[in-house]
Structures are given as C-alpha cells and as structure tokens.
C-alpha cells in the first residue's frame, strides 16, 4: 500500500488510500479505521505518521475520532459532494489559466475528453 519509491510523503499516501476506499464505498459510515498503532506495525512505519494521515482525514471530514476508542468513517453524501467540489475547483483553475492565454476552451475540453475515452 505504501510505495517507498514514491516521492509523496507516507502520511499522504495513507490518507489518499483511505479517501479512495471511503469514496468508492468500500468503507461505510461508522466503520472503524485500523488503530494508529496496528496500522503503523502493518506498514512498518511510525504511529505518528499514521496519526498525521488520520489528522488529515479528519480535517477533511472523512473520519472522526473518539479518544480512547478509535477512528471511524464519517459517511454520508457530504463527503462525495465535497470531493466533487474539490475536483470542480481544480477544473475551474485549469480552465481559467487556459482562458488567460486566450485558448479556445471548448476545443481544449473536447480534446481532453477525447484522450480519456481511450
């Protein structure tokens, strides 16, 4: 699950992994996350690193924490909605840049969509 060759930090890889699981529906509301310690052992890393990933997930609303008990998935449509908005923001910023350099937005989008089909 962790790619040590990857330049991205471990905690970010962990967080993204679980974001994906949650968004895709592989984990559901109130499902328990692995404990910071057990996951640390499993991934051969440090509990603090796992915690940093969990803190990130909590800040972004993917999980919630109960002291002494553990971390749990915060399901619901809000998550999917938020994620959609994140993607939308990225999209808008790319298109704004394109517009600034007077590129034809429709052409650009069509070209991009074409590439994806393959």
């Amino acid at each position: 699950m962790i790619d040590y060759q990857d330049s991205r930090p471990i905690y970010e890889q962990i967080a993204d992994h679980y974001k994906r699981l949650i968004l895709v529906g592989a984990m559901n509301e109130n499902d328990p996350m692995p404990s910071v310690r057990s996951l640390a052992v499993e991934l051969a890393t440090n509990p603090n690193t796992v915690q940093k990933a969990y803190a990130l997930l909590e800040r972004e609303g993917y999980i919630y924490t109960v002291r002494g008990k553990g971390n749990f998935v915060r399901g619901g449509d809000t998550l999917v909605e938020n994620h959609k908005n994140e993607i939308l923001d990225k999209l808008v910023s790319v298109l704004r840049e394109a517009k600034e350099f007077s590129l034809n937005l429709k052409e650009l989008v069509d070209e991009a969509l074409g590439r994806i089909e393959k």
Copy 2:
C-alpha cells in the same frame, strides 16, 4: 514583481513572470532579457537567484543564452504549443480523476465553464 509573502520561491516567481510576458506577446523573439546582475539589483535579490530563474526558463525553452552577450527570448509557435499541451495535460488528469469516481464529466465541465464566465 516579487511577492515576499508568497510561499513560492523567488526564482519561480521570476520565471513565471517572464513566461507570462513571453506567452502573452509582451516580449518577442530575440528581445534581450535583463542581465542577471542588473535584474538582481532591481529586485534586491542575488544574481544566483536570477540565474536559477533563467536556467529554468532556458530548460523549458522560453529563452536562449549567448555567453558574454546575454539571454534572449526564444519566440515562435513552439512555445505557445508547448504551453497549450501543459494545460491540456493538467486538464486530462483532472478529468481522469473525476471519471474514476464516476462523476458526470459533461455536467462537471459545464458547471466549471459557467463559473468562469462571471
């Protein structure tokens, strides 16, 4: 021209500034760039920092260097074309992510385009 509050490194800000000037047509083929030393004085920074910006611009094909003479703008359609491809790549990667989470691409694009008009 340099924003010291900005978290982005100085050399990157310098490079982006000139990229913009070139892509927008404010600077044309073979126009001379300011010398590394003079620009360093003007920006109250270090010649090495400016050189790092110029090295970046050269690597990316925006300018060319003549030893002893200076740096000059490398104009031409290639630049614009390359920049367009960069934007296209970003666009494709965002849309791929959207697709992965089974979002409706057309809706998403329409929404984004709508936001830009404002």
